[in-house]
């Protein structure tokens, strides 16, 4: 074993990789070598820390110094100052918004302070490409425990007692799902991990796979033991190359150590895992479509029942669970159902990972106990709304979810509360919107996505979403008519009740939820022909306020369609007929004389 005095953790998750953490990594290795420090200081690649907008991120142990936005050019200074002289490089440390001083240590940062890391426990802390690091942090001991000390039924009971519910969107009790599959008759059963992660903007599962792949493999083996399956499949989208590569490596390492394969721990239990690549259709995340796709057919859903627990992959009993669900399983077995159930609310136990995005200071990946309020997430962890704007609503559950308006900001977030307000937990996308967001436009955006992703097998979804999208587009184009709202509602009901799978059954949610909380905005578009947030171009007009205009002609010179005319030193005017509402004039005006509304 090499003895190092310092470990430097560099995030090579997708987020930091795209902000060039690989360049930094090679520069660091080179610089350490040049200074003869390569035997003293070890460089370790990790998965995502969650604080993605600060990438590339680098943490130095044993001090736990947290560096952010580190460039290749900064490395020389870090090596000279920190590694040779022991002085952290002040300017690269993290500073809380508004704070005077830099926060040196990782654990002191607000963004991390309010979080509780269960599913993400190892992400950013271990090298995902070394099984030894996972084992050092008690990895594979949960599998050892179930094989040595527990009957399959005891494992299922433990999961049931923990109160764990599926993290892939539906929130179905995981223990119960396993019970159905365990009870189902059949000599061949399967465990499937859903790593399709199709919600736009979601990257929870990706980060777990990139940062802690063994947690998922171990949990799949535990599930296999519980239900009597010897084969697992991970269905992961091909657009996740780093995740796929690390999973593949993890599987090989586990096989080499005999933690996957035949007769694990000499206890007579066989289990192996294979990867299946998905080609990125949203519907393939739906479990029946996913199974059809694993079988090598076109990924289309089929009616349930029969549920996969009874007739899944190749008509054999199968459980499908989400990546984050599995990541929790390992920890439940290790620390016990009571420990897990002590976190969260009455019916939603444990924690939830969210991908925080939108008009917020700190975007990234967070994990909080169930029941945390939106206020804590947005203001304490998220650092508040960008540019001091007003918070308007948060969208959860992606294209199948809905929004939570500002007045409900103190709602504790759990499965049931979200459903009650017409939103949805979904897989954990959380998009924060400010006063400049048009809710009709947001609804149209999500419907455009689901309409495009509808597989077309059942008419309510295929035709219904198309018609809804047409109406929404009409409204945002300023051509809405009074009966549109009613038509939207009728269509929504029909699509929800008649669609084959949950893609269609939930597709109208963003529309229904915005209609519920922001009906006035729809009405303003339809009756007053106005977009209150100033987003829908067709409903905007640009005007020059004569009192403020100095007649400098800058706007006229910048208008691409010559819609502005006037005499120098006299107020100019915009010809509404010609104006294409590009906003170039408003951006250029130095006197704030141009208004949009």
């Amino acid at each position: 074993m090499e003895f190092y005095r310092s470990h430097v953790l560099v995030c090579t998750g997708t987020g930091c990789t795209s902000s060039d953490s690989r360049l930094l990594l090679s520069e660091l290795t080179k610089e350490l070598k040049a200074n003869g420090l390569e035997k003293e200081i070890q460089v370790i690649e990790t998965g995502c820390f969650g604080f993605c907008n600060l990438g590339p991120i680098m943490v130095v142990y044993p001090e736990g110094v947290f560096y952010c936005r580190v460039n290749q050019e900064d490395i020389k200074e870090v090596v000279q100052e920190h590694f040779i002289k022991g002085r952290p490089v002040e300017r690269l440390l993290y500073r809380e918004p508004g704070a005077e001083v830099h926060t040196q240590e990782f654990d002191d940062i607000e963004f991390f302070k309010h979080q509780k890391r269960v599913a993400l426990a190892n992400c950013g802390l271990i090298n995902p490409e070394k099984i030894e690091e996972y084992i050092a942090r008690d990895g594979y001991f949960a599998l050892a425990k179930v094989l040595h000390e527990m009957t399959p039924q005891e494992v299922i009971d433990e999961i049931k007692n923990s109160g764990l519910r599926g993290r892939g969107g539906g929130g179905f009790p995981t223990g119960l799902k396993w019970q159905f599959a365990a009870n189902a008759k059949g000599d061949q059963k399967y465990v499937v991990c859903n790593a399709d992660e199709g919600d736009p903007g979601a990257f929870m599962d990706r980060s777990i796979l990139e940062g802690d792949p063994h947690a998922v493999l171990e949990a799949m083996a535990i599930a296999g033991y519980a239900i009597g399956a010897n084969q697992g499949f991970i269905y992961v989208r091909a657009e996740y190359p780093i995740a796929v590569e690390r999973l593949q490596l993890a599987i090989e390492q586990a096989r080499n150590l005999g933690l996957l394969g035949k007769d694990i721990f000499g206890m007579g239990f066989d289990f192996d895992v294979e990867i299946r690549l998905g080609a990125g259709a949203f519907v393939c995340g739906e479990e029946t479509a996913l199974l059809t796709s694993v079988e090598g057919k076109r990924g289309e859903p089929r009616p349930r029942p029969p549920f996969p627990a009874n007739s899944g992959l190749w008509e054999k009993p199968t459980i499908v669970n989400n990546v984050e669900t599995f990541a929790n399983v390992t920890r439940i077995i290790r620390y016990g159902a009571d420990w897990f159930a002590s976190m969260g609310t009455e019916k939603s136990k444990g924690t939830k990972v969210f991908a925080l995005a939108g008009k917020i200071e700190n975007t990234g990946l967070i994990e909080v106990p169930m029941g945390t309020t939106l206020r804590t997430i947005i203001y304490d962890i998220g650092g508040g709304i960008l540019n001091g704007k007003k918070f308007k609503a948060a969208q959860t559950g992606g294209p199948s979810g809905g929004c939570i308006p500002a007045e409900l900001i103190d709602t504790p977030i759990d499965y049931d509360n979200l459903t009650a307000v017409g939103a949805m937990m979904g897989s954990g996308g959380l998009i924060v919107m400010d006063e400049d967001t048009c809710m009709v436009d947001i609804a149209r955006f999500f419907l455009e996505f689901t309409q495009d992703e509808s597989c077309g097998k059942c008419p309510p979804c295929r035709i219904g979403t198309k018609r809804m999208l047409e109406i929404l587009t009409k409204i945002t184009d300023g051509k809405g008519t009074p009966e549109d709202l009613e038509n939207l509602e009728t269509l929504a009901k029909t699509i929800k009740s008649a669609s084959l799978c949950a893609l269609g059954q939930t597709a109208p949610n963003p529309v229904l939820s915005t209609l519920k909380f922001f009906r006035k905005e729809y009405e303003a578009h339809i009756f007053d022909k106005k977009c209150p947030a100033g987003v829908c171009n067709a409903l905007l007009s640009y005007k020059i306020v004569p009192d403020k205009c100095r007649g400098c002609s800058l706007c006229a010179r910048n208008c691409p369609v010559n819609a502005i005319s006037g005499k120098v030193k006299e107020p100019y005017v915009i010809d509404a007929e010609k104006c294409i509402k590009c906003g170039a004039c408003m951006d250029k005006c130095k006197f704030g004389a141009i208004l949009k509304g």
Binding site: K85, G86, L125, I126, E132, A136, G258
Partner: protein, 121 residues
């Protein structure tokens, strides 16, 4: 993996490498590496500490560096800190002194008082 024992052995080995990233209640050895410290041989002291720790397999002792505390005439300086206790500062440390500090202070918990520069505290 044939048995639980095998996994435990693997863990014990791997754990040592990771100890650096965990909070331990074990002492932290800080080498003062300002320009003055380095000029007076702080780097060789640091290397001596590392190799001594390695020889004795003391993976839970953290070694860090810091700047000059202002007592340049005593360089190289090495501070041993245990959580909840006042730090012990050793002055004019040489690679030869390191062994004694580690054996007597770190392992047996008896500071080498004659080399301390902050005894009055």
């Amino acid at each position: 993996m044939r048995s639980l024992e095998e996994l435990k052995a693997l863990k014990a080995k791997a754990e040592k490498e990771l100890a650096l990233r965990e909070d331990t209640s074990r002492p932290v050895i800080t080498v003062h590496m300002g320009t003055c410290g380095i000029a007076n041989g702080a780097r060789t002291v640091l290397n001596a500490i590392l190799s001594e720790l390695q020889t004795r397999n003391l993976t839970d002792v953290h070694v860090t560096q810091t700047g000059c505390p202002g007592m340049c005439h005593y360089e190289p300086l090495v501070t041993v800190t245990e959580s909840g206790k006042n730090p012990f500062i050793y002055g004019k440390v040489t690679p030869e002194n390191v062994k004694k500090i580690i054996v007597q202070h770190i392992i047996n918990g008896q500071p080498v008082t004659e080399w301390l520069v902050n005894l009055e505290k």
